[in-house]
Amino acid sequence: MSRRQHKSRARGAPVTTVVVLRLYIVGGAPNSVQAIANLEAICQEYLKDGHKLEVVDVLEHPRRALAEGVLVTPSLAKLSPLPAANVVGNLSDKAKVLLALGLRK
């Protein structure tokens, strides 16, 4: 039974992995607004429901940003699946974001 399952995966049956993302922003600031829009567009196009996105406003939660070692905003962190990755800036470079998210071959 287990062998059969293994076989079907090997043939390329899709394994749904949820991509966990965290975006550090300053609410209302121009680059942050742009980063949210850019990321939402990318998620909509490539990940659909297969992602979890948490947006952290560093003005409201500065301690979180400090504890998690964030240096600048906007800053996107891919937490799962490993390897973890970071992209900084307004995420207008789609290729760079896709590479970090592991969506670009």
């Binding site: 300053v26 121009p30 942050s32 560093v58 500065p62 964030v70 600048v72 900084v88």
Partner: protein, 289 residues
């Protein structure tokens, strides 16, 4: 962009520095001082947003441009959440709040009942404008949203330099006094159903929406009655299709009907609003349906 004063932790030529050079960064988190440092463009954008937001408060919007600009330096936008207590009776007033899209209710004791409601037409901490720096009421956030906040010391200074603000606030203080008087009378003499209808209409005026969240437990506290009594009052209003109430969400279905169900206090409070007496403040409230 000058990078001289930026924290040294950023790696030279690293992605953070590249993004800064490209103008794609809003803020730097300085781990040495534990501060979030906004870059000039972001700061400007936030100030402009704060400027726009402050215009949504009628008291601030009524000020002449120069005075509004001067006041803006001391105002910061804050997000207030349901249940948050801004002031306690007997405690010093540390901040004043100009609600933008949130609603604050005033009670004298933690158990209620309500003695006032403040929305975008007014401010919380009016006692400071009258020279008293101790709050006489508990200010409780009833509907979450944004408010412009100012430190008490800054407010007192601004008030002494700004005659237009003084005028607006004295009018507002008078309107709040009238509201409190009417509310006390209403709480003593009128039926719960009529008081409930009034409270829903007042809340709707201040959130500028026919839909808002109010739990029955909160309503019971505000009206100073048991929860079962609120249930008994909500039932007839729902049956007459004046309101709908599902999981704490209240929808006003028939505003005219609800006004008819409310006691006359609602109209009296609206009549005693400053706008009806020629002030430019609270114009929105007066014109609300």
């Amino acid at each position: 962009m000058k990078l001289k004063n930026l924290p040294l932790r950023l790696v030279k030529g690293g992605p953070e520095q590249q993004a800064i050079e490209a103008g794609e960064i809003d803020a730097i988190i300085d781990h040495a001082s534990s501060n979030v440092i906004l870059l000039p463009a972001a700061r400007r954008a936030l100030q402009e947003a704060a400027h726009e937001a402050s215009k949504a408060n009628s008291l601030l919007a009524a000020l002449p441009h120069a005075e509004h600009q001067r006041l803006l330096a001391g105002l910061e936008p804050v997000t207030l959440k349901f249940g948050e207590v801004l002031q306690e009776p007997g405690s010093p007033v540390r901040h004043v709040y100009f609600p933008v899209d949130c609603v604050i209710c005033l009670v004298t004791t933690p158990e209620g009942p309500e003695v006032g409601l403040v929305g975008y037409e007014g401010m919380v901490g009016i006692s400071l404008a009258l020279g008293v720096n101790v709050s006489s009421v508990r200010a409780l956030v009833q509907a979450s949203g944004t408010a412009m906040r100012m430190k008490a010391a800054h407010f007192i200074k601004a008030l002494s330099q700004c005659p237009a603000l003084q005028r607006e606030l004295y009018r507002h203080a008078d309107a709040k006094l009238a509201l409190a008087r009417q509310t006390v009378t209403c709480n003593c003499f009128h039926a719960v159903e009529a008081r409930l209808a009034r409270w829903l209409l007042m809340t709707s005026d201040r959130v500028r929406s026919e839909e808002f969240f109010l739990t029955q437990a909160f309503l019971a506290e505000m009206l100073g009655v048991r929860r079962a009594t609120v249930n008994e009052a909500v039932g007839p209003l729902q049956r007459r299709k004046l309101i709908a109430n599902t999981r704490g969400k209240i929808m006003i279905l028939d505003r005219k009907g609800l006004e008819a169900a409310a006691c006359r206090c609602y109209t009296r409070i609206a009549v005693s609003a400053p706008s009806r007496r020629g002030s430019s403040a609270a114009r929105g409230l007066a014109s609300s349906p």
